[in-house]
Symmetry: C2
């Protein structure tokens, strides 16, 4: 029950987490190289090292220091972290209303029919969950 209260990662930390999520465990050298690719400008090696050390203290990553080149791995899951950040963002920007966020996300940008279909499937799933786990009567049937 005691869920690790992983602190909210900063922008730089999040970028490193993306690298680790995609690439898997890696050395500082590898992480730094991958960061250089996804960015415009290179970042100093010791900068990456420093951030990883701070992330280790925060519990955002784990490391294997058996070898001289330590190997870092993400200690938080991608979806959980995204969910955490999303919660904060929804609170700060949309007053806590996830609905407003979704409306804004869908309304103010181009969404393909394919993406719309995926969202519809998700809506159907959620509706089924609502009706099976919720005592409130629900006779709606999606087309």
């Amino acid at each position: 029950m005691s869920k690790a209260p992983s602190p909210k990662p900063t922008d730089s930390e999040l970028e490193i987490l993306h690298v680790l999520w995609q690439h898997g465990p890696a050395t500082v050298r590898a992480i730094n190289d991958l960061l250089g690719q996804r960015r415009q400008a290179e970042v100093g090696y010791t900068t990456t090292l420093k951030i990883l050390q701070l992330m280790l203290e925060k519990g955002l990553v784990r490391r294997d220091d058996a070898d001289r080149s330590h190997v870092y791995r993400a200690a938080v899951r991608e979806q959980e972290t995204q969910g955490l950040l999303l919660d904060k963002f929804v609170d700060a920007t949309f007053g806590g209303s996830a609905l407003k966020l979704v409306m804004q996300a869908l309304g103010s940008r181009k969404t393909s029919d394919d993406e719309l279909a995926q969202i519809r499937r998700l809506l159907n799933d959620i509706e089924i969950q609502n009706s099976t786990s919720n005592p409130a009567e629900d006779d709606e049937h999606a087309g």
Copy 2:
């Protein structure tokens, strides 16, 4: 090119913008009082004043200093600002995929049937737009 791109507001600035969007133009005193209500702890009067002065320089607010108590008003629109922040957030957290954001927002939290219905209506509207305009050239935005 004549329009200065309003910089991304910080968390504190965004909170003040929320107050101004909801309440309309207000003095520092009024803004500070309203901030105190929506927060856990009070914030110092001069803190609010200082942030408003910085926001004025950034172009996030305008002020009427005809009277001794200056009256501040939002200089950026709510939806535009939310859209701007949303873009940055989607890039940083979901690698630019608005679809992933929506899936996460809907999937990882409780969404009521009422909200689901609203989203369905929006999906229908978007689908109609997709089918009535040529998808290859409908990237125009209302100014």
